[in-house]
C-alpha cells in the first residue's frame, strides 16, 4: 500500500506515488474549488523544484502573487497577458546560454513551464505561443482552460464552448449564449510539429502527472491542454469541480489523448459515453439551453469523437448510451 514516492520527472503507476512536497503554497486567494490548483499542484510535483514558471496574466497569476505574498516556491515570473510564449522563449534561451557560459550550473536540468489561461493562450497570446512552438524552445506550455475570461469576470474566449452563457455571450432575445465552436488547440499545436501534445484533466491525476513527465522529458516544446472547471464561472457548487471534470471525460466532451511523435493515443478510453445532457445539467452556464441547443452540442461532441477515433484508427470512444 505505502508505495514509494517517485523523484520529479519520473512516471508513476498509481496516485500513491505522487510526491508530497508542495511547490505551490496555500494562502492563495483562488475561489473555493478552483480547478487550476488541483492541476498546478500536481504538474509542479512532476516537474520538481528545478523549474522556472512563466505565468501570463490570468486567475492563477492574480491569486498567487499579491505583494508582499507569493504562493510560488519555484522561481516565477509574470510579465503580461499575451506574451507567455515569448517570455518563456527568453527564459529558456537565457538558461541555455548561461549554462553554456558556466554562469548557471552546466549539468543541472532547469525546466521551463508556462501556466497560461485560455485568454492568454487561444486568444491574445496565440501569436506568442505559435512563435515559441515553431522555434522549438524546450518549454512545457500548459493551457489551463476554464473556457472563458474568468479573471475579468466571465467573458467569452475562443475556447468558450457552444451554448455557454458568459457576460459577453449573454442569454437575450437574440443571443442564447455562445453560438460558435471553440478552437482545437491540440491540433494547432500539432501543426507546429511539436514532439508532444496532450489533453489532461484533474479528475485523472495519474494520467495528468505522467503526461507532464513525458512533456518535461521532451527535447523541444510540448503542449498540455488542461481542462480546468471553474465553479464561479460555470455556475456549479465548488464541491463538484472534480465531478464536472470527470463528467466531461465520461461524456466525450473532453477526450483524454496524446500526440507523441506522430502517434495519437487515447489514454482514457470511454466505451459507453454518457449523454452530454448529464454534463450540461449540473452547470448554470448551460441552464438556458433548449433541446435544440443540447442536440447541437451533442452533435459537436459526436463529430469530435469521430475525429479522434479516426486519428487513433479505432473506436476507443464509444457511442452514447443512455443510462
Amino acid at each position: 500500500m505505502a508505495l514509494k514516492e517517485v523523484k520529479p520527472m519520473e512516471p508513476i503507476r498509481t496516485h500513491m506515488q505522487i510526491p508530497r512536497g508542495e511547490l505551490i503554497a496555500p494562502g492563495h486567494s483562488a475561489c473555493q474549488g478552483c480547478g487550476h490548483f488541483v492541476i498546478v499542484r500536481h504538474l509542479l510535483k512532476a516537474a520538481g523544484p528545478n523549474t522556472i514558471v512563466v505565468n501570463p496574466t490570468g486567475c492563477l497569476e492574480v491569486v498567487t502573487s499579491v505583494f508582499p505574498y507569493t504562493s510560488w516556491r519555484v522561481p516565477w515570473i509574470h510579465v503580461a497577458f499575451e506574451n507567455g510564449g515569448a517570455v518563456a522563449s527568453g527564459v529558456e534561451a537565457a538558461v541555455k546560454v548561461l549554462q553554456k557560459k558556466g554562469v548557471l550550473p552546466k549539468d543541472e536540468r532547469i525546466n521551463v513551464v508556462v501556466f497560461a489561461g485560455d485568454g492568454g493562450t487561444v486568444d491574445i497570446g496565440f501569436q506568442s505561443l505559435s512563435g515559441m512552438l515553431e522555434r522549438g524552445h524546450k518549454v512545457v506550455y500548459v493551457l489551463l482552460d476554464n473556457e472563458a475570461y474568468m479573471n475579468t469576470g466571465i467573458q467569452r474566449s475562443g475556447s468558450t464552448p457552444f451554448g455557454a452563457w458568459t457576460t459577453t455571450t449573454p442569454v437575450g432575445k437574440r443571443w442564447k449564449g455562445e453560438w460558435r465552436v471553440r478552437k482545437d488547440m491540440i491540433q494547432i499545436a500539432v501543426a507546429h510539429h511539436v514532439p508532444y501534445a496532450a489533453t489532461i484533466n484533474p479528475a485523472y491525476p495519474v494520467d495528468m502527472y505522467n503526461k507532464m513527465v513525458k512533456a518535461l522529458n521532451e527535447d523541444g516544446p510540448s503542449f498540455l491542454h488542461a481542462y480546468s472547471p471553474c465553479p464561479t464561472g460555470w455556475r456549479f457548487d465548488p464541491s463538484l469541480t472534480i465531478e464536472v471534470a470527470r463528467l466531461a471525460v465520461q461524456t466525450g466532451y473532453w477526450i483524454l489523448y496524446e500526440y507523441d511523435h506522430g502517434q495519437y493515443k487515447v489514454t482514457q478510453p470511454v466505451l459507453k459515453r454518457k449523454p452530454v445532457r448529464e454534463f450540461v445539467k449540473i452547470q448554470g452556464r448551460f441552464r438556458h439551453m433548449t433541446e435544440d441547443q443540447i442536440r447541437r452540442l451533442q452533435e459537436i461532441i459526436d463529430e469530435q469523437v469521430e475525429f479522434i477515433n479516426k486519428l487513433v484508427g479505432k473506436t476507443v470512444i464509444g457511442p452514447v448510451v443512455e443510462s
Binding site: A25, P26, S29, G35, F37, R41, T70
Partner: protein, 101 residues
C-alpha cells in the same frame, strides 16, 4: 490606513518577492461556511482527498500508531471549505458540517 506599511526605501526593488511560498501565512480558513471533518475510523487512506484538494489543506501525516502508518487531517487555517474532499471521498469518511464561529 497604510501608516504601518513599509515605505519606498524599505521595499524590495521591482516588487520582487524573495520569500517563496510566504502566502501560507495568510489564513483562508475563514472563507468556510461548512467544514470537512475526517472520520479516521472510516478512512481507507486512499489519498484522494489529498490529491484533489486545491488548497494544500489536506494533511498527510506519518503516524506509526495510525492505521497503515499514516492518517489524514484538515489544515483548517487554509481549508476554504470547497467540499471537494467530502464529495470525492469514496467511503464517505468525510463529514460536512456547518462552521461554527
Amino acid at each position: 490606513m497604510s501608516s504601518k506599511l513599509p515605505g519606498w526605501k524599505e521595499l524590495p526593488e521591482g516588487a520582487i518577492i524573495s520569500d517563496p511560498g510566504n502566502s501560507e501565512v495568510i489564513s483562508t480558513g475563514e472563507w468556510r461556511v461548512f467544514k470537512p471533518v475526517i472520520v479516521d475510523e472510516k478512512c481507507t487512506r486512499c489519498r484522494l482527498c489529498w490529491i484533489y484538494c486545491p488548497d494544500d489543506a489536506i494533511l498527510e501525516i506519518d503516524d506509526p500508531n495510525a492505521k497503515l502508518g499514516k492518517r489524514y487531517d484538515v489544515d483548517y487555517e487554509h481549508c476554504k471549505g470547497c467540499g471537494i474532499c467530502w464529495r470525492e471521498c469514496p467511503v464517505n469518511a468525510i463529514e460536512w458540517v456547518p462552521e461554527e464561529r
